[in-house]
Symmetry: C2
Subunit: 407 residues, 2 copies
Amino acid sequence: MEIDLGQGRSTDQVRPHNLSMVLRYLHLAGPLSRAALTQRTELSRSTVATLVAELTERGLVVEGPPRSPSGPGRPSPEVRLADDGPVVLAVEVGVDSLAVAIVGLGGDVRSQVRVDRERSPVAAREVVAEVHRIGGPLLDAQPAPLVAIGVSIVGVVRRTDGLVRIAPNLGWRDEPLGELVAEAFGADVPVLVGNDADLGALAEHQRGAGVGLDDFVFLCGEVGVGGGVIMDGRPLRGADGYSGEVGHVAVNPDGRPCRCGSRGCLETEVGEPALLRAAGVDPTRGGREAVDEVLHAAARGDERAVRALREIGGWLGIGVAGIVNIFNPRRVVLGGYFADIFRYVDDQIGGALNSRALPATGASVEVVASRLGAQALLLGAAELAFAPLLADPTLFPGVPTETRRAG
Amino acid sequence: MEIDLGQGRSTDQVRPHNLSMVLRYLHLAGPLSRAALTQRTELSRSTVATLVAELTERGLVVEGPPRSPSGPGRPSPEVRLADDGPVVLAVEVGVDSLAVAIVGLGGDVRSQVRVDRERSPVAAREVVAEVHRIGGPLLDAQPAPLVAIGVSIVGVVRRTDGLVRIAPNLGWRDEPLGELVAEAFGADVPVLVGNDADLGALAEHQRGAGVGLDDFVFLCGEVGVGGGVIMDGRPLRGADGYSGEVGHVAVNPDGRPCRCGSRGCLETEVGEPALLRAAGVDPTRGGREAVDEVLHAAARGDERAVRALREIGGWLGIGVAGIVNIFNPRRVVLGGYFADIFRYVDDQIGGALNSRALPATGASVEVVASRLGAQALLLGAAELAFAPLLADPTLFPGVPTETRRAG
């Protein structure tokens, strides 16, 4: 195969790169003075002024006196995201619910609707129709320009085209979800689809328990177990976008058959049904209520519930230790129902790290619960949708200006 | 923690970036005409001419008529690495041997010495003295300027400073190998230390079974089992540089105790001692000869040897399937003794991928034997040592020009 190192860099690429950096600072850190932007980007004051002027011109940011008082002397003007700037539609297709939200830059959730769904196989087209039913009115009610739609799906997604290869809990195989969503919304904006755990990792990295960390793993427990991995500050993707599927690491070769065709995968040993089964709750009931029941029972000292949590904690510990050995993350963030059971299994995970992780990796990792909770996936879908614009702010405005709200 | 997106880009950084790219093309692809460089870098002809002139001026490349005839018309001058350009000293500290080599850009091994060593714990200082004893004369005998020393070590290395955290087969814990080597050679050049499997992955990526692939895993079996991972074209490092230690993924929770303190790690089930034990060969003997004995016996149809290989193949398959699920690589490259046993276990690995890998990931991966064999680690150590110069060719010449050989 031919060596491909990519293309050389021309001076034309410097400005878009720096525009992107300034916009991303405001997107992630909130309002900043020009002085702070100058300091963070290590660019000259005049360069920063030019960049801010261009972003203002494009309707992405505004400048004004600082909203909160600063130190003595003449205050440096504060740069912040424009209130009437672009928005995205974030969609979350989960096992128990569907959710949609209108999100602006800065992770600003303008409006949101979540509806429960039956935990049973369903046609992709039906799900998309329901997403449109609840998402359409939100879109109609908001005046800001829509630039993209981001979709989080509880399944394995091919990164090149958003094809859902498999979503076992929905009964899907090879569903062109991105296309279906674009069709339903008649959208002339890009539709981007991502795996839920990958998007959870992205959101926790930018606004949750992974802020400031270059290397961490988001491990999400629901019916299935998903993983999203950030390494060296970037999402780990793999050849087709399926990297980080740690739910199907074998932890127990003699364990239960897994829906993936293997047996004893982490997912089969620590997914929600495994907890419910161990606790004597009908696993087909499922859902947050059923998990809460087990947690309440454990809090009351119910022996079977406590034993069930210990069993899950043991396997989860083996899984986390393996993940720590493989990735050497600074932190493992437990999301989904793992966040709820964390205080019951914290010690066991620590014990497994002591006995099963390599000393060097085990000593430098911290295991914590998700900080964004149920919002992680919608926020991650919004980040996915905003990524092209953040990478190149000159893409905006890409819609006729007359359709934008008068400033 | 504060958001840190790094600094903005200035036009001053464009030239070093492009110099680096041109040099890396020559380093990896061999001699190229200016026309080919122009095409690959997508820079203008005049920019490429300027870049080549600077690299020539620095003594890194030379231009001349093409060594092999090209098509009709006036031949474009061929740019190639200078014969008297910089070299590095590559060092490999293995379980059974020590090796040193003088390597030029382009992976050009100028001279090399390998000596056997006893498979027993040994002080780091003694190993370094031996490395100096065999490496010193090689250095004295070569006239090219030395720019760095790269060391491959069969252990876990902290990336920030080259501290060997643990090398169980040498009996080391927290040995400052980089410092010791620098001291022994009285070197005023950087000494860089890397984990053997990580360096094997680097070498296979640049010159072996991973060329042209952005996503692959190098899985190396010796006494221990190491992993090196390339994702998105870059080595996976993790928070401290320990990422990819797939040898300590649990494949058999009830398996044998592992030297790492855990039990049933991939390494305990498929490392060289496991094969020898299963085949009835004294595992303390170890080494390539003992493995060859098992392979010869299997070739003769010896039942115990065949059964031993099947046992190893079974666990290796589980391990490879797990690695494939976790990383979604395009290829898994088996190195070390795994390359030797590959044709005996190929089917079993394929079977495990069918039954245990997710369909999407399992279908898109290929498992192959290492292409560089025993040279992988030395070449990887050389790549590690050359990395700073390749990233910024303006670092060279960094030694007084009078110490360089007259061109």
